[in-house]
Symmetry: C2
Subunit: 383 residues, 2 copies
C-alpha cells in the first residue's frame, strides 16, 4: 500500500498571542502550504484539531472559517476533538483521509487560544472532560497528576528530584526552540522550591496555559516528490482509550492507552521501541514523561526516572525526549500540541532543527487526552 | 476495493428528553451494537458526532465517556464536529476508518442535548458558527433562511404556499415515524398563519430544538455477512465547503457545497441523481429542501418547488423526500441529525420502515453544516 507522506509543516510561536484561534490557525496553515508550494485550492480535505473554541472564545465552525481564510473553498472540512490529544487525533484523521483514498492532499491545522482566560478558568474548561462523578468531587487533571506522582515515587523508590530533572531538561531544550513559550533555563532548586500545586508536584512540574497553532500537510508518498525534495512518512499510527473513570484503573501508574496505541503503531511500522531514535512525549505534568517512557517500552516499568537521572533522555543521550522543550517549556495550546509534536519530529528528521538537532531516522510522538483517557501514538520516519 | 458496509443502526426517540447527551449516546450506541450482535469490546474505533456538549452542558470528552459506558475500552475514540453537519461528517470519518484499514469495526454515535436551553440560547450557540463579521451584525441561521427564501420566491416565481407544503408533507411523514419529535399533521393554513420568524418564513418553516441520538455500525463488506443477514453499503460519500461569509456567495439560492459534495459521491458510487430512489434532505428550514433538491440534480434550478406542488416528493411520488419526517418533524439534535438521516435510509433499504415504507434500492442523504458552509452527501445502497 502507498504510504502517507508529510510534505510540509509549520508552527507559530507559542505563548501569549494577541490573536484569536482563527488567526492562529490561518498563520500556521498558510505557512505549511507555502512550505510545500501548495495552494489552498489544491486541498481535498482540511482538518482542524481544536478542543474548545466555543468554550474559550464563543466561536464555533472554525474549520469553515479556515477554509475561507486559506482559499480552500470546495475542500471538505471538519473539526477533530479528542481533548488534549486533539492534535494526535487530527494526525490520525488526516492519515485516514489519504490512506482511504478520499483525499490526495490534506492539511491538518491544530490550534487553541487560551491565555485570555485565567488559569482557573482554563483549568475548569479542561476539567469538564473528566467523568462527572470525579468532576463533582472537585477533580482536575493536576489533582490526578499529584496523586499519581505520589504513588509512582512511593512504588518505585524514585526521588522527588527526578521529577524536577524532567523540567530542567525540557526547559534547557526549549531555550533552543525559537517557537517555545519559555526560552529560559531553570535550575533544580528553582523547580523544587516553587509553590506546591498538587503535592508532591509544584508549579514547575506543570505546563503553562498557551496560545498557538501548528500544521502538517499530507499526501500519498507516491506523489510526495512532486511537491517536496524532503519529506517524511507516517510509518505507524494508532489510538486507544483507557477507563474514563480514572479511579477504576487497576494500576494508576500505567497508562493503558499509551501501551495499546503504541502496540498498534509499532506493528504497523514494523518497529519496536528499540528502533526509536527520539521522541516527543506529552509532558503536561513531569510525571507523565516517566509513565509514557515506560508504557511505550523505552524503559522497564518503574525505571523511567533512572533514565532521566542518568541523562539517557538528554539531547546527547541515547534516546532524546522532548527536544522541542515539550509541553513543559514549549507550551500546551490544547489542539495544537499533538500537531506540534509531529512538527518537531519532522524538522528533526529533515535535519532542520538547528541548535537542538539530534541524530536519527525514526521519531515517535505520544499525545495524551484527558488523563490518558484517549491516546494516539505516531511514528514518523525518513522515507 | 472492499466496500464499507453498515451492519447495525438505531435511533432514540427524538424530542424533549430527560437525559444528558452521555445517556442519549449510550442508549443509541448500545442499541446499534445489539442490532448486529456486536459487543463494545469488539470495536476498533468509536466516533461521536456532536457539535457543542461543552456549550450546552459544560461537559466535554464525551467520546471517552461513551467508550466507558459501552465497554469499548481500548477502542480509539474521537469527536467529530462539523456544526449541524456533524452527523454526516461522522459517517465520512467512520467510512475512512474502515476504508483505510485502520478499523475493522467502527461505531458512530451522533447526539445532542438542547431542550434544557431556551430557543434563544440554543440559537445563539448555533449562531456562533457564522462568520464574525456577519455575527456581529446580528445574523443567525434563521435570518439567512429568510433572506434566501425571499430571493428564491422572487427569482423563480414560486408561490409562498409551496414552502408551506414542504412542512405539511414532512409533518405527514413524521406521523408514521415512531421516533419523531412531532407526530402530528399540520394543514397548510396553520403553516401560513403561524407567527413570522424571518419574513417570509414563519414558525412552521423551521425545525425545532431537539434532544436525541442515532448510531450506525460499520465494517468491511467482506465480513458483513458474519454479523448481519441484511446490511447496506456506503456506495458513495463526499464532502465540500462553500464560502464562510454567506454574503460573498455569487448566487445565494445555490448551495455550492451541496453541488460539489454530491458530485464526489455520485462519481464514487457510479450513480447520477436519476438513480436515486429516495432521499433525506437537511430541511432545517423549508427553503433548504428546495435548494438541495435542485443542487443535488434531482430537479432543474428553480423547479424544486414545482416538484413539491406536483407531489413528486411525497411517499407515493417518483422521488420521496424526507420519509422520516425530516428535521422539520423528526427534530434536529445537531450532532444526531446526519446519522439519523442515514438511519432512515438503512431501514428503508432493509424494508423495515413500517407504515412509511417506500420502494427503492438507492438512497441519498444530504447533511448541511452552517448555512451550507460545509456539506456531506452520502449514498447508501442494497449490496
Amino acid at each position: 500500500m502507498d504510504r502517507v507522506a508529510i510534505i510540509g509543516a509549520s508552527m507559530t510561536t507559542f505563548g501569549d498571542r494577541d490573536a484569536w484561534v482563527r488567526e492562529l490557525l490561518a498563520e500556521a496553515g498558510d505557512a505549511a502550504l507555502r512550505d510545500a508550494g501548495v495552494e489552498g485550492d489544491d486541498l481535498d480535505h482540511l482538518y482542524v484539531s481544536n478542543m474548545a473554541s466555543g468554550e474559550f472564545e464563543g466561536q464555533t465552525g472554525v474549520p469553515n472559517a479556515l477554509a475561507h481564510d486559506l482559499g480552500a473553498l470546495g475542500a471538505y472540512t471538519q473539526r477533530v476533538d479528542q481533548t488534549s490529544a486533539s492534535g494526535g487525533a487530527g494526525i490520525y484523521a488526516a492519515w485516514q483521509s489519504v490512506a482511504s483514498g478520499a483525499s490526495e492532499m490534506t492539511l491538518l491545522v491544530g490550534g487553541e487560544k487560551m491565555t485570555h482566560k485565567t488559569t482557573g478558568e482554563a483549568t475548569d474548561v479542561i476539567a469538564s472532560l473528566t467523568h462527572p462523578v470525579e468532576y463533582k468531587h472537585g477533580v482536575t487533571l493536576p489533582s490526578f497528576a499529584g496523586l499519581t506522582a505520589r504513588k509512582y515515587l512511593d512504588e518505585y523508590d524514585a526521588p522527588r528530584e527526578s521529577l524536577g530533572k524532567v523540567a530542567v531538561k525540557n526547559h534547557r531544550n526549549g531555550v533552543d526552540n525559537p517557537h517555545a513559550q519559555f526560552r529560559k533555563e531553570v535550575d533544580l532548586e528553582t523547580v523544587l522550591d516553587s509553590p506546591i500545586v498538587a503535592d508532591p508536584l509544584r508549579l514547575y512540574d506543570f505546563c503553562p496555559i498557551t496560545d498557538g497553532s501548528a500544521a502538517l500537510l499530507f499526501c500519498p508518498e507516491s506523489v510526495a516528490e512532486e511537491y517536496a525534495d524532503d519529506y517524511v512518512v507516517v510509518s505507524g499510527i494508532g489510538g486507544a482509550t483507557d477507563t474514563h473513570v480514572v479511579h477504576e484503573r487497576e494500576d494508576p501508574t500505567t497508562m493503558q492507552g499509551v501501551v495499546e496505541s503504541s502496540e498498534i503503531a509499532y506493528e504497523m511500522a514494523d518497529r519496536g521501541p528499540e528502533d526509536v531514535d527520539f521522541a516527543e512525549l506529552h509532558d503536561m505534568f513531569t510525571i507523565l514523561e516517566f509513565l509514557q517512557s515506560e508504557d511505550l517500552g523505552f524503559f522497564e516499568k518503574g525505571e523511567g526516572w533512572k533514565a532521566v537521572e542518568e541523562g539517557v533522555t538528554e539531547r546527547d543521550g541515547d534516546l532524546p525526549i522532548n527536544t522541542s522543550g515539550g509541553l513543559k517549556s514549549k507550551g500546551h495550546p490544547l489542539g495544537a500540541s499533538g500537531v506540534a509534536q509531529a512538527y518537531e519530529l519532522y524538522v528533526q528528521l529533515l535535519g532542520d532543527a538547528g541548535d537542538r538537532q539530534v541524530e536519527g531516522d525514526v521519531g515517535l510522538a505520544c499525545n495524551v487526552g484527558g488523563f490518558g483517557n484517549c491516546v494516539t501514538t505516531t511514528i514518523l520516519e525518513q522515507p
